[in-house]
């Protein structure tokens, strides 16, 4: 089975999709997160395929409702379907999204090998979102939501969230 990793999104729908924010990280849109896998208009109805970041992500129901509401505001009906395959990966997050995330106070995901080193405590490489130091350490592999781990900076002492790499 070949899997198309490029989402099939109609150009003219992007603007409306960008109005919908992730309820857990409100500075990011669903487009930044890469959770929209398809958005096509057919016969006046917008069909959207949404994929969860983590299986138990409670934000999915909210995002689904928000999408329907956003299109309704523009006089369009949207039908949202949840799809599991292919499974979401942090690679689908946009670069702009990662920068916004960092400015918001959440360290964006590192690439896979570096992520493993960081989460196993082998390397001090996650950059503190407060002072920029990499003299940081893992407090817990699990943070305030399923997608994050908790770190602390040993220079400025601030604790902060790190968005885990998921591949």
């Amino acid at each position: 089975m070949t899997i198309d990793l490029h989402p099939n999104i109609d150009e003219n729908l992007v603007q409306i999709l960008e109005e919908v924010a992730d309820p857990e990280i409100p500075v990011l849109t669903v487009m930044d997160m890469g959770v929209i896998r398809e958005a096509v208009a057919r016969d006046g109805v917008v069909y959207i395929k949404l994929t969860p970041t983590y299986s138990g992500c409670p934000a999915m129901d909210v995002i689904s409702d928000d999408l329907t509401a956003a299109f309704k505001k523009h006089g369009m009906e949207a039908r949202v379907e949840l799809v599991l395959a292919p499974a979401w990966t942090t690679d689908w997050m946009s670069e702009a999204g990662k920068r916004k995330m960092e400015a918001y106070g959440i360290a964006p995901p590192l690439e896979e090998t570096a992520d493993k080193d960081a989460l196993l405590g082998n390397a001090r490489i996650v950059k503190c979102t407060n002072c920029g130091s990499t003299n940081t350490r893992l407090l817990s592999q699990f943070g305030s939501t399923a997608c994050k781990a908790l770190f602390q900076c040993d220079d400025c002492q601030e604790p902060f969230d790190y968005f885990k790499c998921l591949k």
């Binding site: 299986s55 138990g56 407090l139 592999q141 943070g143 939501t145 399923a146 591949k167």
Partner: protein
């Protein structure tokens, strides 16, 4: 029902996650530290998320307008297919970690194999779940080592917990008749294929944690056939309370 075997096969996987998630949920606000409390409830959330996908699929097979909630909440004890291991009480943190670790290693190998199922839905849920279960295994494995190779008291408690749960792991590798028919059709996973690698991985990690590998030939089984330990009734009483008290309640 058009595919009774598949329905039961799905429950055999999903019920483990539901009941273990429920057990971990009991620790919400009661974990030994804030970080472990959050970690354990995060794991519960992952398990519930996976469970929802399985139950949604099972409900579609059951027909008659059944929903994922019906499948999760409205069965009687005998119809739950989880292994006895996951329904055992939290007792103390060592027990929570031992139960979790022994399950996580199995769960990870099961998901790894299930990705190749010729059932697209099961393969998709597994492909999603495997990334999460990898984190669970890392968490429980780390704590196993930390407590096993920790202080005198933590070592003793961890050993006692491993000894306590050891008789329950044989059931993980039992196959029911439904399982066998599903394996034959290429949907199900033959757990016997990774039994040896399970025991060798667990043995290596127990040794690293300075723990003794139990030599108890006795095993406790029954859950996969719907015959549960006395703890199960209490779990279901709490889990199903709202639906039993206020039938068809929604919010």
């Amino acid at each position: 029902m058009k595919n009774q075997d598949l329905y039961i096969y799905i429950l055999g996987i999903a019920d483990n996650s539901l009941i273990l998630g429920q057990r971990l949920g009991e620790l919400c606000g009661h974990g030994p530290s804030l970080e472990t409390d959050i970690a354990l409830t995060n794991i519960a959330l992952d398990l519930f998320g996976q469970t929802r996908s399985y139950y949604r699929y099972a409900a579609s097979l059951a027909g008659e307008g059944k929903t994922e909630d019906d499948v999760a909440m409205l069965r009687i004890e005998r119809d739950y297919r989880n292994v006895l291991l996951v329904e055992q009480p939290n007792t103390h943190f060592g027990h929570v970690i031992a139960r979790q670790y022994l399950f996580d290693v199995f769960h990870f190998q099961l998901m790894t194999a299930l990705v190749d199922s010729n059932d697209e839905t099961l393969a998709a849920v597994a492909a999603k779940g495997i990334k999460e279960v990898g984190y669970h295994k890392r968490f429980s494995g780390d704590w196993l080592k930390r407590l096993g190779d920790g202080t005198g008291e933590s070592h003793e408690k961890m050993q006692e917990a491993i000894d306590h749960f050891w008789p329950y792991i044989a059931e993980l590798f039992d196959t029911t008749e439904s399982d066998e028919r599903m394996i034959e059709s290429g949907v199900g996973v033959d757990v016997a294929t990774f039994r040896e690698s399970y025991y060798s991985e667990v043995t290596d990690q127990l040794k690293e944690a300075t723990l003794t590998v139990p030599e108890n030939p006795y095993s406790k089984k029954g859950g996969k056939q719907g015959v549960h330990s006395e703890h199960m009734g209490y779990i279901l009483t709490e889990l199903q309370y709202m639906q039993r008290t206020y039938p068809n309640l929604t919010w």
